[in-house]
Amino acid sequence: MAIPRSFFHMFRRTLSLEHCLYALVLGVFFLLITSPLIGLGVDLLYAALKGSLDLSTPLLLSSRRLELLAASIGLATAVALAGIVTGVLFVSLLWRVSREILVFILLALLALAAIPPYIHALTWSSLFGSLTDFLPGLPTTGWGISFWVEFMALLPLAILLTWIAFASVDHHLVEVGRVFGSDMDAFLHILLPLSAPALGAAFGLLFLICCSDYSIPSLFGADVYALDIFAQFSASGSSAVASLYALPLVLVTVLVVIASRSGIRTLAQTPDWLSVRFGTAPRFPRFFVGLQVIACILILVQILVLFSGLVFTTGNLTTFIHSVSVAQGELTYSVLIAAGVILISLPLALAAAYELKQPGLRGAVAWTLVLLPLAIPASLTGIGMILFWNAPGPSMIYPGLLMPVLVSVARFAPIAAILLFVQLRFIEPLLFDAAAVFSPGLFETWVQIRLPLHAPGFFVAAGILAVLTLGELGATLVVAPPGHGTLTMRIYNYLHYGAAGEVAGLCLMITILTLIAGACTIAVLYLLYRGPGRTVETGGKPE
């Protein structure tokens, strides 16, 4: 009798309202984030069955395609490597600053990391343009400048990820190293090897972002594979051909995602990384201090060029007001898209965050699915979204105003899920157990206990979703309905065709919006850090 009864209980438990809702929301989340892949997969299958497809396309890499693929991988590798090396040097310098300054620097970097790459492209191209008056031979297009601008754009993120990677190491282990060896020995033989998996994941993330972005290389006249996918789609009009064409790059990015998966999980599971500190400043050899100073100068140059470039290129307040007023339609549409993305993504991402917490195979599958969208180049995501939503069933969505919202949900809801997962780890699980014991019902539990506990994470995720959506270009460009463009699309077009003052005004506008969203996020991150339900109460202090 015991077996049927336990089976009955399990069945009843699965059929509870809470479980059904959870399964439904989770299903919608995974459907939305994998919808581009489903669209591409079905389209490929259909074309293959129809016999209208040359399946050797991904294998027959012409010398031009091979060159493009190698150049894209080379650029992404160089940018990620430079970012991590600079990050390691800069973060080892942060070791000596006080806790308050450290928190300020990390939060400022968080806000800087959110500024879209094309804004860096504008400021650096203005600077290089001015420098050519004095240095006529200075190249203003090509791979060199593409690398530099991409490196500058991703530097704040690289530093942040490096910090989290270092914080993932139990700092007691580093302290023991400092007792038994020099600070340099502890750094080289303890901290670096122990943080290597997380640093590898940080490298992987930067590589993926760089591989899928074509905005900067295209602005500087360097062709990359991600841009060529879009060009292939525009030229042939065949999504299946574009998908097959993209396969070699997707193969590389999927391999990077698989290799980085456990490291990314380590990065996300680093507890309370803002409070990690060392009581005394380390003493490094002179050559290393020199390298640290160079890293520090690089980040200062990045900030200086960004802000001074924007202000000087905009010129005056009249130009700024004019450029904002002519782009009011795009501005409104962009803000509405960001709001839509937040509203749709957050509840779905919360369910996914719980799933990411699951141990064993279930958690591993959830992590793989959540990280998979990161491996898909933005332009291919856009094509996949068209294929999915243009199908007979949901065709009323495409072409429509909702498409840019859905495309950003598909790209960024996984990031919201990871952020909520991080916050979930700060909440003492016993608080939920206590709510289950004392609460009169499911609704009350959610309204009075769960939502207030999740609120800081929601605000942080909303801020990050807003800035990512405002800066999204690659996929939105493919799916935007005719006659409706986002602010980013307008800026991208301006960047191609000139109009420096107007474009700088719009970039300044985007930067201000990003920094406002960043400041709100930081304020709430502070609440999250100080907020209710945190497991760690000591703030990393010894007793």
């Binding site: 139990d170 007691h172 282990l173 302290e175 023991v176 190293g177 400092r178 007792v179 038994f180 060896g181 020099s182 600070d183 020995d185 033989h189 303890i190 090897p193 122990l194 060392f278 009581g279 005394t280 380390p282 003493r283 703030g539 202090k541 010894p542 007793e543």
Partner: protein, 214 residues
Amino acid sequence: MIVLEEVSKTFQNHTAVDHVSLEIPDHACLALLGPSGSGKTTLLRLIAGLEMPDEGSITMSGRVVSSPDVFVPPSERRIGFVFQSAALWPHKTVAGNILFALDALPESEQHQRLVPLLDRMGITSLRDRYPDQISGGEARRVALARALAPRPETLLFDEPLTNLDRPLREDLLCLIAEAVRANGSTMLYVTHDEYEATAVADTTIRFDKGRIIG
């Protein structure tokens, strides 16, 4: 001799160590006994050079190692430290963990020291294992061996037997007492357990709210 003069340390608004003055003679075995949160770990970390005092100075063997103007890094203080957790580096073997502390010595001498130490701690068979392949008690023995390896002038213990069962604790207490005496080091042993304090040390000092109370 270790001399602390009016040493204070504050974290945000919490004073962990409050104007503490203390003299520990050479070769003394001293236990610092106090409840959780009393500031005894911070005092140990200040002596080790893992924290900087806000006020006061610390002198070791006649040399000022910490003061508002002077700071000597932990690795130059000739100390051994056994932490609350074994704190073994997971990417190094048992032998690798101990050899890191002997890095300054020539390779032949490193091994001359390693072999008898492993033997004394009863961990010879574990030398090529990684920390996740040994038990909690074995890990504490490795941590003790690592602390003893460079023959430090001062041995610092921060509740090294936390979370171990009674027989294992007694076994390790004997080993610690024996090893410290054989090494001839000055010992400062921090604990909240009166039994441990009396078993391992010649003198016990009581500590609470950042101050010595007896």
